[in-house]
């Protein structure tokens, strides 16, 4: 079925650049980022908002982009994992993940890094319980989370 007649033009900022995306208004932000902008660092793990692999920042809020219709992105500022290492310099959280072994297979990593950054921006010195709660929306099957917790704690000190 040709749905191009139903397309909308959505303007937003992605990783600091103004973009216009022409697509169906209900296209998942996840698909818009991956297929329209070729920002494939955002991953799909479950497609139902459970795993957090597709997490991105929309106006500073961590959202699961698989549950976010493109139309809602109008006028927003979006940060994906590609926008985190500004000018090729790793963010303190990324450095800490690298040093502590917080990434294994890497598929949950983009969402997990964005969740950790959000957590630390809101709470620069979280307790252990706050770290666990802050990352509870991001599933990791490889690490058992311990290296990730260590990375978050280590990033606080940086």
């Amino acid at each position: 079925m040709d749905r191009s007649g139903m397309n909308v033009r959505v303007m937003c900022r992605v990783n600091g650049a103004n973009v216009t995306i022409e697509a169906h208004p209900m296209m998942r932000l996840l698909d818009a980022l991956r297929s329209k902008l070729r920002l494939t660092g955002t991953k799909e793990g479950c497609g139902e908002g459970e795993c957090g692999a597709c997490a991105v920042l929309v106006d500073g809020d961590l959202v699961n982009s698989c549950l976010f219709p493109l139309l809602h992105a109008e006028g927003t500022a979006i940060t994906t994992i590609e926008g985190v290492a500004a000018g090729g310099r790793l963010h303190a959280v990324q450095e800490a993940f690298l040093a502590c072994g917080g990434a294994q297979c890497g598929i949950c990593t983009p969402g997990m890094v964005l969740a950790a950054i959000t957590l630390l921006e809101r709470n620069p010195n979280p307790t252990e319980a706050e770290v666990k709660a802050g990352l509870a929306g991001n599933l990791c099957r490889c690490t058992g989370y311990m290296r990730i917790f260590e990375a978050v704690v280590s990033a606080c000190r940086r």
Binding site: G45, L98, G101, C105, R141, Y145, M146
Partner: protein
């Protein structure tokens, strides 16, 4: 030699044992790593697989629904397959139903495979036993739940060449499957592993099927085809951990020694045979655990049912049989009037003793030391008595502590490694660096990094001087599948051997002396390449001296080496909600030498987390032979909120046939947590939990059965 370079030599004393950061870590952390769903080819179509909705039936016809523009689709069915459609077609929904043979779906007895292991004569000693303890234990299926669903992209050309890229553990398994499916020579098939988002065994075998589907569509449509599963399809269609049932009858002497172990180990293979015989083999060999017993009988069976086929999952049968054994050993200890630790101390297998399958244990075994350390680190004895006191005064909250002692064999079972005859190569590149060539896949466990460390150590270089090739069957030799805790110990050893030969080749050519700087090494490689064109050294597996296995008698050295471990779990059981929470977890193990401490620790922590999920949360709901909770919403894996601190400790005992002394590690942590947790729950509640997973619903049922009159 200038001062700066001298310093460099001093710094590069050893890379093995160092916390070298993950090779591809930066790419993964910045979103640059390329996974299969990130690959887009021009003109690419998207493929999907249509499956039978019934568990057992005959396909009589295919109907196409009206109102769909079918000419726009390319459709492939069995009739299109140019080569062999080698899936052999054998409703039976349980092991009991299969064994009752009311419906025969495989052979004449519904049994895919059976093994019989006997030592001594169990039947001769029952009468002289001080105590005899019977037990029956069950485990459910488990989904691997790698966060990246499976997928492939395929491309074919008019000359019959077939290329696939995908998420996988075993490139050469897919290579072999595609050559047969298309009936083309091996040289026409190319398989490339993309960055792979977790495997855990789930991407050992099944990717061959997806590759086949995608490649057939590409071949018929003449276009590249991407076939990536969504989560629901991945969970419904791909293989899972075999459900199991184990029956134990154990005889113990007056002085607390094992006299006889009679074990019946049955796994549900599902509708197709697949890897069930090999899973059964590992489970059977591990069924008697790290103990010496003069009289053992183990009967292993893999039965056929109309459930989806079960397959490889971290541990490969051993977690199932070890769960039963270690839960049972606590009960046997109690019946013999001994504490769980004292009973095990009296029965640990010692160097020089013979295992159930006739392996004389040659390596040093330090189970008692591991046990001592684990019990101290977990404060086991003090907690055991403190919890007992507290539990007397608490009706709702019960606390407990328990442990499991176990081992895991590294590498393929028996003569498996000899049959694989794996090959790796090390080559000099024109950029002055060295490249390791192997088909072993980086799936998160750290293959790239440890391979670079092993090669760098042998070559006297730094890790950054070594590249690890992306597995691509067109360029890498077949180093075997990425399974069975074999990548570090077996393939890593080949890399060490090839690297040492590489260095030796430069030395004998007079291009390198015994001490050199990285710059001198690069110059030597360049000089060798200028003289001979290229420098590429291969190494092929040869069994270590004295390793013998008899396939016919199913007897001998089952594994070249074992990792040994003691895991302790501390739990709180809430008798109002029936929830079991793990409060602390101590994992002490001996895995030979540790190549990379953060990576090794991550392997243990991740395995423990996955096993805690298996023990307490992960419950597959089957309806008419189909998984109905095929969603992350209602198939529950541990989140960051659900896990205790996982405290990991290594004892290092270098294994002479492993690279730098390393043994296998990946599967070990899957074996111990479930029985340790169950023993802790038994300690907390006085119940005998024997069926896994122990969800709140299951614990409630167990509680109600134990108290027929109710509270």
């Amino acid at each position: 030699m200038n001062y700066k370079e001298y310093n460099l030599i001093v710094m590069v004393v050893s890379t093995i044992g160092q916390p070298v950061p993950r090779k591809e870590g930066r790419a993964k952390l910045t979103g640059q790593a390329r996974y299969i769903d990130d690959l887009v080819l021009p003109g690419m179509l998207h493929g999907a697989t249509v499956r039978s909705p019934v568990a057992r039936g005959l396909l009589r016809a295919i109907h196409y629904a009206p109102g769909v523009p079918w000419p726009e689709f390319t459709i492939v069915s069995a009739h299109d397959i140019p080569g062999a459609n080698c899936v052999t077609l054998p409703p039976v929904f349980s092991m009991d139903a299969a064994l009752a043979r009311t419906e025969v779906i495989w052979g004449d007895d519904n049994v895919f495979k059976q093994y019989l292991v006997t030592r001594g004569n169990v039947d001769a000693v029952w009468t002289e036993a001080h105590v005899i303890v019977d037990g029956e234990y069950e485990t459910g299926a488990q989904e691997q739940l790698y966060i990246e669903p499976q997928g492939m992209v395929a491309l074919t050309d008019a000359q019959g060449a077939v290329t696939v890229w995908g998420s996988m553990q075993c490139p050469f398994y897919i290579h072999k499957a595609l050559a047969a499916l298309f009936n083309v020579p091996a040289a026409k098939v190319r398989v490339v592993q993309m960055e792979t988002g977790g495997g855990f065994g789930g991407k050992e075998e099944y990717p061959s099927i997806i590759a086949g589907h995608a490649a057939l569509l590409a071949w018929k449509s003449g276009r590249p085809v991407k076939l990536v599963y969504d989560r629901a399809e991945d969970m419904v269609a791909t293989t899972k951990r075999h459900p199991s049932r184990t029956r134990h009858r154990t005889a113990v002497s007056r002085d607390g020694r094992l006299l006889a172990m009679d074990i019946e180990f049955t796994i549900d293979g599902g509708a197709y045979c697949t890897l069930s015989p090999v899973v059964l083999s590992r489970g059977t060999i591990h069924a008697a655990g790290p103990y010496f017993c003069p009289n053992i009988r183990i009967r292993g069976r893999a039965v056929a049912t109309n459930m989806p086929p079960h397959g490889a999952f971290r541990g490969f049968g051993a977690p199932q049989s070890i769960f039963a054994l270690e839960r049972h050993m606590d009960r046997v200890a109690a019946a013999a009037g001994l504490t769980p630790d004292e009973f095990r101390r009296r029965n640990f297998i010692q160097t020089g003793q013979t295992s159930a399958v006739g392996q004389v244990m040659k390596e040093p075994i330090a189970m008692e030391r591991l046990l001592d350390r684990a019990l101290v680190l977990s404060d086991y004895h003090a907690k055991r008595s403190r919890f007992a006191d507290a539990n007397r005064h608490s009706t709702r909250i019960k606390r407990g502590i328990g442990f499991a002692t176990f081992m895991h064999g590294a590498g393929f079972t028996g003569s498996g490694e000899q049959h694989l005859a794996s090959v790796v190569a090390v080559e000099a590149l024109s950029n002055g660096r060295v490249r390791v060539l192997a088909a072993s896949a980086e799936i998160g466990q750290g293959t790239n990094t440890i391979f670079a460390q092993i090669a760098a150590e042998a070559l006297g270089l730094e890790c950054d001087d070594v590249e690890v090739a992306q597995p691509d069957t067109a360029t890498v030799p077949d180093s075997g599948p990425t399974v069975a805790s074999r990548t570090c110990m077996v393939v890593g050893k080949l890399i060490e051997t090839a690297s040492l030969d590489f260095r030796h080749r430069l030395e004998t050519a007079g291009l390198l002396t015994s001490r050199y700087t990285p710059a001198e090494f690069r110059a030597a490689c360049a000089a060798y390449r200028a003289r001979h064109g290229d420098l590429r050294i291969a190494a092929q597996y040869r069994p270590p001296e004295g390793l013998r296995w008899d396939d016919q008698r199913y007897e001998g050295d089952a594994y070249g080496a074992y990792a040994w471990a003691v895991y302790v779990a501390e739990v709180t059981v809430d008798l109002d909600t029936f929830q079991t929470q793990v409060d602390d977890f101590v994992a002490v193990q001996e895995v030979g030498r540790v190549i990379n401490p953060p990576l090794a620790t991550g392997q243990i922590e991740g395995g423990v987390a996955q096993a805690i999920g298996w023990a307490l949360f992960e419950d597959i709901v089957w309806r008419d032979g189909r998984m109905v909770n095929a969603q992350m919403t209602n198939y529950i894996m541990p989140t960051s909120m659900d896990l205790p601190p996982i405290r990991v400790f290594f004892e290092e005992a270098p294994y002479p046939n492993g690279p730098g002394g390393a043994k296998g590690i990946g599967e070990l942590p899957m074996d111990g947590p479930a029985p340790a947790i169950f023993n802790a729950v038994a300690n907390a509640t006085g119940l005998n939990p024997a069926h896994l997973p122990l969800t709140p619903e299951a614990l409630m049922e167990l509680m109600e059965k134990a108290e027929p009159d109710g509270p």
